[in-house]
């Protein structure tokens, strides 16, 4: 590369020390910026935000903080301190999945929600691919959401799918707005797929962006596993 290390370093120092003013009207909102960093937006939208950070020092700084935060999140989920809140039934469920689906190695699991206290203490059960919003590799595709990240649906044709749990598992599907408001919930499902009734999404926001998530209920214990949230778009 023609740019030597010291020149590159100087350029980086100069770029990252450009004073940041307040974000303007064309700046991405925090949710969108965070989603881009977490690779949850489609590549074209991520590139659009990166292009913007080239000329907006405020968003460039937000991007750096956001990236660092995301890395901390991954470390926190993967630092093993989660053992404190992983209870017996959860471990048993995780173990039973490992037994019945050897290739899973629990990679597709997102930890069951264990209350606010649990979320910062959980272990590395969720894979990088899931955390980053990328599709999971086929070898680890046992407990994952099958509907693509960012999939676009007509309001009356929202079809969601996920991989089945062990025989007898029940599922709960929830659709939420980006700020976490519950729009739709269906519990006690036995099939790993769902067609959302058209009138349920009548209140969708103008952006049409929603999250959905699935909770697996193990057949023989009280343990649950939640995957998601994952973004979908309603047009």
């Amino acid at each position: 590369m023609s740019t030597d290390t010291s020149s590159l370093q100087k350029l980086q120092e100069a770029f990252t020390s450009i004073p940041a003013g307040s974000p303007g009207g064309d700046c991405p909102d925090p949710d969108r910026l965070c989603a881009a960093v977490r690779l949850e937006l489609p590549p074209e939208e991520r590139r659009e935000i990166v292009r913007h950070t080239a000329v907006c020092a405020a968003c460039a700084e937000d991007w750096r903080v956001s990236w660092a935060f995301w890395k901390k999140e991954q470390e926190s989920d993967g630092n093993g301190s989660g053992g404190k809140v992983l209870n017996g039934p959860w471990r048993a469920f995780k173990k039973s999945l490992k037994k019945s689906l050897p290739q899973v190695a629990a990679a597709g699991l997102v930890l069951a929600a264990v209350g606010v206290g649990g979320w910062l203490f959980q272990d590395a059960a969720q894979p990088d691919a899931h955390r980053s919003g990328r599709s999971l590799a086929p070898a680890s595709a046992a407990t994952e959401l099958l509907t693509d990240e960012g999939a676009v649906f007509a309001k009356d044709q929202v079809r969601l799918a996920w991989t089945p749990g062990p025989e007898g598992s029940r599922y709960k599907v929830e659709i939420l707005t980006l700020d976490g408001q519950l729009l739709f919930s269906a519990a006690n499902l036995t099939d790993p797929r769902l067609e959302v009734p058209a009138d349920e999404l009548a209140q969708t926001s103008s952006t049409g962006e929603l999250y959905w998530q699935v909770t697996w209920f193990a057949p023989s214990s009280t343990a649950t596993v939640t995957a998601g949230p994952r973004l979908i778009r309603i047009r």
Binding site: M1, S2, T3, S7, L11, E13, A14, F15, T16, I18, A20, G21, S22, P30, C34, A36, R38, P42, R46, R47, V50, R51, A54, V55, A58, A60, E61, D62, W63, V65, W67, A68, F69, W70, E73, S76, D77, V85, N87, G88, V110, L111, A113, V114, V116, G117, G118, W119, L120, Q122, Q126, H130, G180, L182, S185, T215, T222, T224, A227, G228
Partner: protein
């Protein structure tokens, strides 16, 4: 706050606060170090509010809660930035603190370089601009490739060409960082 898995093994709020504080401390920009408790509070409030609203209705995955905290931190940084700007606007020019580490000439030069970099990036071919921006932000090529949705090879090429463009552009403006 209750545990939704029925374990009853829920860490205290103090523990949660401490964990989040560590994460925020690690990512907080230097100019905000003395306000980092505000960032933590904002994230905690958002998470607790969400948890309260969802009580008994649904379980929240850890990744979802992280997202909420993540977004709250960025939101709060923007709020603090706006606050600082207002505070600076309210100070009369004579009261403005003058950084002792650099001369007015150095500051002017630094400002010129800042503007030069942004202007050169703005003129750059979009895909080179994207690749170089991430490089300037400190991302590795593989990370940039993931973010931009390209192969590592393509990203590497665009970083190389983009950096060359940037240097040529800065030189043409008589600038050298």
């Amino acid at each position: 706050m209750s545990s939704s898995n029925g374990s009853g093994d829920t860490p205290s709020l103090t523990e949660l606060y401490e964990k989040l504080r560590k994460a925020v401390t690690a990512v907080c920009p230097p100019w905000l170090q003395d306000r980092r408790d505000d960032l933590v509070q904002a994230a905690m409030m958002r998470v607790m509010d969400l948890q309260e609203r969802s009580e008994g209705k649904r379980e929240l995955s850890s990744s979802y809660l992280w997202k909420v905290a993540h977004s709250a931190v960025i939101d709060e940084i923007r709020r603090q930035r706006r606050r600082q700007e207002v505070a600076i606007e309210e100070v009369t020019p004579g009261d403005m603190p003058v950084p002792s580490s650099s001369s007015p000439e150095e500051r002017a030069r630094s400002r010129e370089i800042d503007d030069g970099i942004q202007s050169c990036l703005e003129q750059m071919v979009p895909n080179r601009r994207e690749a170089v921006t991430l490089k300037l932000q400190g991302h590795s090529v593989p990370d940039s490739a993931d973010i931009l949705g390209w192969t590592v090879k393509k990203t590497e090429n665009l970083v190389y060409r983009g950096l060359r463009d940037l240097q040529d552009c800065l030189i043409s403006k008589g600038l050298k960082p």
